[in-house]
Amino acid sequence: MSVQLAVRGLTKRYKTGEGVSGIDLEVNKGELVTLLGPSGCGKTTVLRGIGGFLEPDAGEILIEGKSVTKLPPEKRPTSMVFQSYNLWPHMSVFDNLAFGLKIRGMPKADIRSAVSDALRLVRLPGSEKKYPTQLSGGQQQRVALARSLLLKPAVLLLDEPFSALDAKLRHEMREELRDIQTQTGLTMVFVTHDQEEALSLSDRIVVMNHGHIEQIAEPQRIYNEPQTLYVARFIGKMNFLEGVVDGERIRAAGLEWPNAKRLAGKVKVAVRPEDVGLSVISDHQEEQGLGLTGKIKQIMILGHYAEVSVDADEHGTIRAFQSKEAVQRLRAGDGVRLSFASIIAYPND
């Protein structure tokens, strides 16, 4: 697989102190990579750097092996879909889509057929004569997407394009974007603060925090093996226990695991709620003994599964996801023994 986009040591500092430093990233041809992080983490800065909308303090951007660092946006083989205000309200949909093609000097007949093809691709066939104000928010974003697709960019940049839409529409648009990506084989860089969006859409996710990259990996890996404590906290739900290293073992809450990462001193032990097992302690059973016990505080039914909060004294509240069958055995106030199917340990920050 060939590298379509390479970002090397990208650094940009704003007067406010925010910005990014030392960003290294490679995106393969036909790949959809998401930049994920909270607002102010620098993800949009990286995207705007790739698009040519800001001048980096240091670093290089290569597209198809050629440096574009010094090129203005109109000379770069990229196209950006913005969060909002994408379309030009004084132009019809046709003129919006044809604008870039006219600049490139494409013959009129070709423009007409290209525009109608692009509109069909985004499921808005025949809306050439409409004006942006006559379209809904979702339709406007589709037109914006069509406009970018028409330019056949080497890299398509998307800056939270669906965040202004309602949840249902956002979901549909994600699926459509994924379809379009499979059909066109375009290389895409997608910025979002919505982890669900990132997990469902991406080939790989770049998790960003305070202007640097925390982890780059496939969605499943990001979820299963968060590389840093930050990623563990940021992606999905996670329980944390205070632990300590004792030679080859990590001990926390009366349980112990092998010290695979060779950590030292105090550690944080992270457990996904779906990896937490609960067994009810019956009255005549011995309450003492090895392991972690607690009392069920609350049971929340969430459709096909339930979230059970267990009050585990000094270890705080532990959340466990239970199947709807398993949860029928449980009642609020029950004493339970907790078991962990798998854990990840992190050095204390």
Partner: protein, 277 residues
């Protein structure tokens, strides 16, 4: 119940009050205009008759027959056109700068345009006249044009500034992205999108210049006699019917232009011009 009583009850108190208010408004607004029109076409009209004794076009032919009048109409439109064109050239780039570029004391500069409207006009014109006298601009067309421009500087900068401000960065950046150079972006995206605001300001400028009398009188006399100046002398020297005819001539372009621009003049465009951000 009497028929009138039933009628009032059926329509309702609120509608009746609305109707009365509307009538009062219409009388206040249209009454003087109606009187003006009647006056302009009257041959003989003596108090206490409600309507003229005799209808006639004689004051129209009289006013049109005056050499000064035909000349002043041409001159007024010429000056208004020059003032509008020069104001666009001067103020639209300034408005773009106010909307897009960060520079120190921006708000102070923007606010300073209000100054020319803060003082009594006559005082301002007298001091301008003193200055113009020194540099030889008295009794010249350029002098009159400059005085007119001072009047419209505020509208001509504030309204387009708001129009440019309302254009989002993403709209311009999308165009850059599509391959347009910065100049092309300005021509194809920014300027057309700001056009309603610029048009509104221009119509204002044109009408304001057509209507300006005080400054023109002070700076332009004796040679530069625009329509309002001529009107003063006609009102002073001839019966009021002549003044009425002239008023209608002076009002006509205003009404025509406003009707033409009606599509563009929305309360939004106007109001957004007066928000100092």
């Amino acid at each position: 119940m009497s028929l009138v009583g039933w009628y009032f009850k059926a329509i309702g108190k609120r509608r009746i009050i609305e109707f009365i208010l509307l009538t009062v408004f219409a009388v206040f607004f249209a009454g003087p205009l109606l009187n003006l029109v009647v006056l302009a076409f009257s041959g003989q009209w003596a108090y206490p008759d409600r309507l003229p004794h005799q209808w006639s076009f004689k004051w129209w032919s009289f006013v049109m027959g005056q050499d000064d009048v035909a000349k002043s109409i041409g001159l007024s439109f010429l000056i208004a056109t020059i003032v509008t064109a020069l104001s666009i050239v001067l103020c639209v780039p300034a408005a773009y700068a106010f909307a897009r570029i960060r520079f120190p004391f921006k708000r102070v500069f923007l606010f300073s345009f209000l100054l020319t409207h803060a003082f009594p006009k006559m005082g301002l014109y007298v001091s301008i006249a003193v200055l113009f006298y020194k540099v030889g601009l008295m009794n010249t067309m350029l002098g009159v044009v400059l005085v007119h421009m001072i009047n419209v500087l505020m509208f001509m900068t504030w309204i387009p500034t708001a129009a440019f401000r309302n254009i989002q960065a993403a709209q311009e950046e999308s165009a850059r992205d599509a391959g347009a150079t910065p100049f092309r972006v300005f021509r194809s995206i920014t300027l057309p999108m700001a056009m309603p605001g610029i048009m509104v300001a221009s119509v204002f400028t044109f009408l304001n210049s057509l209507d300006e009398a005080q400054g023109t009188f002070l700076v332009g006399i004796p040679d530069i006699k625009t329509m309002p100046i001529i009107m003063y002398s006609i009102i002073a020297d001839f019966p009021s019917s002549a003044g009425a005819v002239f008023s209608i001539i002076l009002t006509a372009p205003t009404i025509i232009l406003l009707l033409a621009a009606q599509r563009l003049i929305s309360a939004d465009v106007m109001a957004s011009g007066f928000q100092v951000k």
